[in-house]
Symmetry: D2
């Protein structure tokens, strides 16, 4: 008996990637894909990569469609999850939410950055944050509650927060970063990060052969990164860039070494990351002298991290590479669902990067 899964908002890039993963997952059965815009159209017609592999047809976001599911993956814009999740949970469906609606623990911060009221603070208080390598306890607790018969909610981390936090957390948690200093993050995302909607920004001829920064100082992943890493407001300067590739996200995190700390050598720093992820099968910490590139993880739920040290400036430079749709979205959602349902966290996620 497989676990019955559905994807709400399956039309977008994260939804399509979830579809790709769940169609091949040993333990989940993908029973429903919804999209109000595409309702009635065949998956294989919209995404011809699925031709011959699935007969699924998009349906509307409808209670009847979702009624019998064990788990619903929500790949919807923020506020849409707020509108749907309480009912799903009440109906006994576990929710793995890829939107931002339940990520920020403090509803005031949500309201500040998203400009809408948080209407579901009870669920927010119980939601597990989905970045398994860093929030394993929250997920283990949710898994235990689900095993006891409760429908639970996972709020999966966003793409920039995932790459950034995986790179930086080992050093912050080890106390190697100067308390109160500003952490400076510059990140590069492939164009799938800008969404499936056809706009000038996503037009091939405007995105290709060009790079630009955007959302400087205003990107909504800022408070999420701060929350994961425990940075106070104003301690994080985050500058995302769009680069001309489909998938991939690289985050470069500059952190001042704690004033009292001895200058580390690169091997020590690499070893800190390696020990931190020794039991994390989907995160690879590279040896000293090696830095990750996004092609190494494209199309997968894997991350690679590395670190360099700038001796004169006493600065730790930690770098994380993910696929923004993989470990940064759909892959991580499946990893979280695996954990919640008591499966091996890598089940259905063992593919290696296609990029040579």
């Amino acid at each position: 008996m497989k676990i019955k899964a559905g994807i709400v908002g399956a039309a977008g890039f994260a939804g399509a990637e979830l579809t790709r993963l769940l169609l091949r997952h040993p333990s989940f059965e993908l029973c429903a894909i919804t999209s109000d815009a595409l309702a009635g159209r065949a998956l294989a017609e919209v995404y011809p990569a699925f031709a011959g592999a699935s007969d699924l047809v998009f349906s509307k976001h409808d209670k009847s469609v979702l009624a019998d599911l064990d788990v619903a993956f929500l790949a919807v814009p923020h506020t849409a999850s707020l509108a749907m999740t309480p009912e799903l949970i009440a109906a006994g469906t576990t929710v793995v939410d890829l939107s931002a609606d339940y990520r920020l623990k403090d509803p005031a911060i949500y309201e500040k950055w998203y400009k809408v009221a948080h209407t579901s603070t009870d669920l927010l208080a119980k939601a597990a944050f989905g970045l398994p390598e860093l929030t394993g306890d929250e997920l283990a607790s949710a898994a235990a509650r689900r095993a006891a018969g409760e429908a639970v909610l996972v709020a999966c981390a966003g793409c920039y927060p995932t790459a950034t936090s995986l790179a930086a957390a080992p050093f912050l948690r080890a106390g190697l970063v100067e308390e109160g200093a500003t952490v400076i993050v510059d990140a590069l995302s492939g164009i799938t990060g800008a969404g499936k909607k056809a706009t000038e920004r996503t037009h091939f001829c405007f995105a290709n052969e060009s790079v630009e920064a955007y959302g400087v100082g205003t990107h909504r992943h800022t408070p999420e990164i701060s929350q994961i890493l425990g940075l106070a407001p104003g301690r994080l300067v985050f500058t995302p860039h769009l680069v001309p590739m489909n998938r991939g996200l690289l985050s470069t995190v500059k952190m001042p070494l704690a004033k009292g700390a001895d200058a580390p050598d690169p091997e020590e720093l690499a070893a800190i990351q390696q020990r931190f992820y020794a039991n994390s099968p989907l995160v690879e910490a590279l040896p000293a002298g090696k830095l990750p590139k996004t092609a190494s993880v494209a199309g997968t739920a894997r991350a690679q991290v590395g670190v360099a040290y700038h001796a004169e400036a006493r600065m730790i430079i930690a770098i994380g590479a993910i696929d923004n749709l993989g470990k940064g979205a759909a892959g991580q959602a499946v990893q979280c669902a695996n954990i919640i349902f008591g499966l091996d966290q890598t089940e259905g996620l063992t593919s290696l990067a296609v990029g040579v």
Copy 2:
């Protein structure tokens, strides 16, 4: 007990793709990867996508390395297979050869196009041609011999021949193409098709933002296409092009309708392809009005084919899309090995395209 496999020439792009597939294959165990140039270096160091996923180290092409294998995949340049295969077969190792050495049934044609003598004509006579959807009988026969204890040889089809023949064969075999008329093939390949060697042609800045034709009238896949499709010399005009993408190969085949034939409608033509591949799980024939794009099969062992009809010119235009490293090389090699070892032909090849 898994089947013991090795890859000879694992350093190149086809070899790396074979490695990726075999590391995750349920029934094969990848025991050895060889490369004279990279001997002693770790796979994960050369291809960081494998970091954390494999501890394999490249070894030299050495008899001792290959001695205990059940099957050797040869991803080597032409003539190298001629030099190695007889010994491997004699030692009882089944060979799945990705090179061109055993593809052309007539050694005289090999010698004409490759400018070297064919030194292994006995094996050539027994080699099964590896394009399962079109040469299933040869492969079935080889599988039977292998089941009876014989080491067998499969000569896998090249990338251009695969895409071209999958698109065109249904119409040629149905007698819809004018006997003796010239078939005109134009094909577009991603840059992995030009190999891993760093040259001016493969330099990013020369390949990017440009397209060109090459090897016009002289490409060595010409006689291979002619052989598969049963075209006499001079009946095929083949023009390959390089296009700026990593993976993917599209072939557009123009075939004059047989003079006596009634003008078909597009639905009939599409139905011919669809019936032809009804039992081929890795080839999807699209419905009338749909044409394949390479992203739909990138990173997979799948092919998609489609067809259009030009009424005024009475011309059938059949189009095939593959990943040149997938169905065009490593994926097809694994498909052939599955067949030869009595496995389901799709085992280890079920991934869907990452390309959105």
Copy 3:
């Protein structure tokens, strides 16, 4: 005193390229750019490449804006030119039309392919076809009429017809191609050819890392190519493809050698192209053994052509490379305007390709 020029439909890619060229043209002064959609917005805001280089503001397509122009370049969709051109000509403004409205000499063919009536057949009869290397007489005659005070109309060739005809015409005009045989054209265009409108087809993530054929047997450039090359209906099979690059168009033309002709050697064929373009400063015929690539002409009004010969199939394979927005649109329009106004045809068009 500079010649006063305006661009109608300056918002699209061809319009923007015309803007780029005319802002730097020694003899034309760009006085007006129109776009109903962008009226009131500054050019530099819409296309930041013009920041600091021009203060032009888009205005509506309005008679008053166009009243004082010596020449109007129309970069508008088909039928829009039909609606505007008669009035402009009547008002004494010379029109260089980049649309398809006045390209096809036979209005019945226009109506067949564009599904609308041709409402301006008098002007059509007088329009000069703008592909200077092949229709120099028409342009010279129009230039003479303009010099005599008449407002004239140039219908510039489309992108696929330009590359295809420049490659093929020398051989067809030399009588080397079998009369009545089918000419088979496969062409590859960069994504600017699909227009500025944001659609799924032009979305970076769908266009990137993929190729596909489109409009097979139905593309509207078919009758235009037939007209230029003097091919009867049904003698042309034209298959365009989209490839992932911004600019560039490569056309590969397969033409059967005339039955009576002696087999040419490659040098003879190359010499035929070279002699044909000996006095054409914007078309370079490459020596035997060299084939053009699009990067060599990207960003310019130049074309490069080459040729190969397939002896067994007795097939001439002529290849042309242009920038679809340069020689395929805006560059050619400026070249035509230069000729019409008695300037050197290369004025303002001397840049060499930026592509390395």
Copy 4:
């Protein structure tokens, strides 16, 4: 009488771009292009974009070739300029050097970063640093000396230093940046920045669809940026990245606001940049709210800069976009040569970006 110019090391990307610019320059005549590796080969054969546009042939780096030149542009690796420049200057040839050999005013810093002795410190002391918008005085003085008959030396700024310094200098010079604080620069370069040599790093299939950081903390442009901006050692953390595009370089500079300064509003910051470049025709400072993208300057000698302000972190984020081969190399070299020879600084550099 045109000024006689030669390019030493014309085979590489910067050399080819210089060739493209000088072939079309109104006041310079390109008399010689040298390359030891390509000596004897025609320019148009090596770079087919020049077919039909130039008959130049590469010659060896030879005194006789360079003897009669008024100016030699050196597009050579570091140390090669040290070896050639003294002799050229002694022979009366003005040198515009694109290498790093004369950029660093302090030979000890050169020796520290380049691991070779500086053998030409007399010339170093007299060399003008070539970043006209920031070192106009040095160039004016050199121009005066050249006008008086002296052969002078210009050491053109590197690509990362140019984009970084143009973005940041207005704020540092205005005293808005905290004295002694660390400035953090992250920059993204197209692959031409990695050079013409075919390597794994520049192989299309490794560079495409991937991004990575490199040379973290060790890139040799670090001391050059520090020198231009007046930063003490250890006050600069510079992280360059390679991104998959041919040309373009974006630098994002994070600078802490001076402790005493009032929090600026974005309009004030933009106005500071705009005033700073009010008389700089090749640098465009964008209005508040607009950030530069590299496509806006690709293929040109122009730069665009913009700025954002992070209020909570009191951080100025200045961004500069150039073409690494244009304003970052060849375009800037021509701009410097224009100034040195008393021409308008924009002569031959008026082209606008081809990128749409």
